[in-house]
């Protein structure tokens, strides 16, 4: 599972579209399995609101050549997984946001793709639906499907074996979460005061975190072992300030 983390406008959707071949590249290369072996769910669509749950699955199945008894079997299996087995006749538009996302992912999984590409599958989804969605996605990964998903939630990157941090169209750090943490150079400190400390600092709860690209922390800062969230902010800060020592974990 690879997760791409970035804010609005970082280039996440374009990156996925380049990966699946929906946009021509200005340079570089993009390699992927053939179209029939990809399942792709864009951020804003993925199902038809005026088709029923069953019709959505049948349409998607038809597009990928999953028909007849195979479609029936696979649909039942996936609907049970996502808790929609008793809602086959419900219109897509009548489903809650979380349910829609789950159905869209199920539609993309129907043909057992080799590569599953998901654009912000969990944005705006509540935590319970979110963990159910990740369980569905993880099950596909456990079954051998390669997964690429984007997110604006840094904590979701913990789930990935590879994380790519995207800012303004550029990858500013890539690696396993532990490698991104290990790549932090300089020193991180915590300052428990209301006044903003000198240097590169940000709020964390009621205290401040301060990062120094050198080994010297400002006065009053207690050294702190960076966690993954800290490492991500440090990578962003280093990139923004054009400070050299931190960067690519790989």
């Amino acid at each position: 599972m690879s997760v791409v983390v970035g804010g609005d406008g970082a280039g996440k959707s374009t990156l996925l579209r380049a990966l699946v071949g929906l946009v021509p590249l200005s340079s570089g290369i993009s390699r992927r399995p053939s179209k029939e072996e990809i399942g792709y769910v864009p951020a804003t669509a993925g199902l038809y609101t005026d088709l029923t749950v069953e019709e959505n699955l049948a349409f998607s199945g038809g597009a990928y050549g999953v028909v007849g008894s195979e479609l029936a079997h696979r649909s039942t299996e996936l609907l049970e997984r996502i808790g929609l087995a008793n809602a086959r006749a419900r219109l897509g538009g009548q489903l809650s946001g979380g349910m829609r996302r789950k159905l869209a992912v199920a539609m993309a999984l129907l043909h057992r793709p080799a590569l599953l590409v998901l654009d912000e599958p969990t944005t705006g989804v509540d935590p319970v639906s979110r963990s159910e969605l990740w369980r569905l996605i993880s099950a596909a990964a456990a079954g051998g499907t390669a997964v690429v998903a984007t997110t604006t939630y840094v904590d979701e990157a913990h789930r990935a074996s590879t994380v790519t941090l995207l800012e303004q169209g550029r990858s500013i750090s890539t690696g396993a979460p532990s490698e991104i943490v290990a790549a932090v150079a300089g020193k991180l400190g915590v300052v428990r005061s209301t006044a903003q400390p000198q240097g590169l600092s940000w709020r964390w709860g009621s205290s401040w975190r301060v990062w120094s690209p050198t080994d010297v922390l400002p006065e009053g800062a207690e050294p702190l072992q960076p966690g993954f969230e800290d490492a991500v902010i440090i990578a962003c800060l280093a990139d923004e300030q054009e400070v050299q020592p931190v960067g690519r974990a790989r």
């Binding site: 509540d126 935590p127 993880s138 604006t152 904590d155 709860g205 962003c236």
Partner: protein, 287 residues
């Protein structure tokens, strides 16, 4: 610290549906309170009751010690998830308009957004739009701020900076109520209130909400097969890189995996906030 906003046994029924049911909530000066809950748990209804946009079916709501009214509204800043800005007006125009609506003096635009004062709000990147919405909501020096998913969609650095604004105003005595699905955001709050089916199901600091909840962490060379085995048994397995995290007893997990000839290291570790939240929600409202 003075209590700014308070609900006492507040309830709201829509026909047979009880959207909010005997909720006690208090937000004091200088504190940041996080309101968590699944979609439909009653968060938005509670906020609307607190702002006086809905009349309670039972109990009462007090804003600054009085019933919500136009005069208490002046003392509240509210940033909805949709931001509530006018896309086709500039930053300066939005600012001036809000100041006029609140009848407040016209302070200068804060430095954080001054650079974009003549740009149309709709043309700005989302992180900056959020900063403008914050600046506008803060412009009349509200004593209470109500923020709905304040950092939704923004990148890590923009998120940290928006929280800087939130913390700054809390330090100046503002009480802040943040409604969110985002656990990173929830972890920044001083206190959390978790709603399930219209009631408060858990509350306290992050550590109180997590309590003594634990999950079982599984390290297995073949994590894929281990996932399939646990998942097929109905356990809600979550993947973290190549580690698995499952609620339940370590013994049960170990036996299941051993039954499939999967040697695994199993350890009990503290749950994270998301896992605790899922556990609170699945157990339903407290008696």
């Amino acid at each position: 610290m003075a209590v700014l906003a308070e609900t006492r046994g507040v309830a709201k029924h829509f026909g047979a549906l009880s959207a909010v049911d005997s909720v006690d909530l208090a937000v004091s000066s200088g504190e940041v309170v996080g309101l968590l809950g699944s979609n439909g748990a009653g968060k938005t209804t509670l906020i609307r009751l607190l702002l006086g946009l809905l009349r309670p079916s039972g109990g009462e709501t007090l804003l600054f010690g009085a019933l919500p009214s136009m005069s208490t509204r002046r003392r509240v800043g509210y940033v909805p998830q949709t931001l509530g800005l006018y896309d086709d007006m500039t930053v300066q125009e939005n600012w001036t308009f809000t100041a006029a609506a609140f009848g407040s003096a016209r302070p200068a635009l804060p430095e954080s957004v001054r650079g974009s004062k003549d740009e149309l709000v709709g043309s700005l990147p989302l992180g900056l739009q959020r900063r403008v919405a914050f600046a506008v909501a803060f412009s009349h020096n509200p004593e209470l701020l109500v923020l709905d998913e304040p950092t939704s969609g923004v990148g890590p650095l923009s998120r940290a900076r928006l929280w800087q604004d939130i913390r700054d105003s809390a330090e100046h005595g503002t009480g802040v109520l943040v409604s969110t699905h985002n656990m990173e955001e929830a972890e920044q709050c001083d206190r959390l209130v978790v709603m399930v089916d219209g009631r408060v199901a858990a509350e306290g600091a992050v550590a109180d909400v997590i309590g003594s909840r634990t999950v079982v962490q599984v390290t297995c060379d073949d994590w894929r097969r281990a996932f399939a085995v646990l998942d097929a048994d109905g356990l809600v397995v979550q993947v973290q890189g190549e580690l698995l995290r499952v609620p339940g007893s370590p013994r049960q997990v170990e036996d299941l995996l051993a039954g499939h000839d999967l040697p695994a290291a199993v350890a009990t570790v503290p749950a994270n906030l998301e896992e605790a939240f899922v556990s609170v929600v699945s157990r339903g409202p407290r008696p």
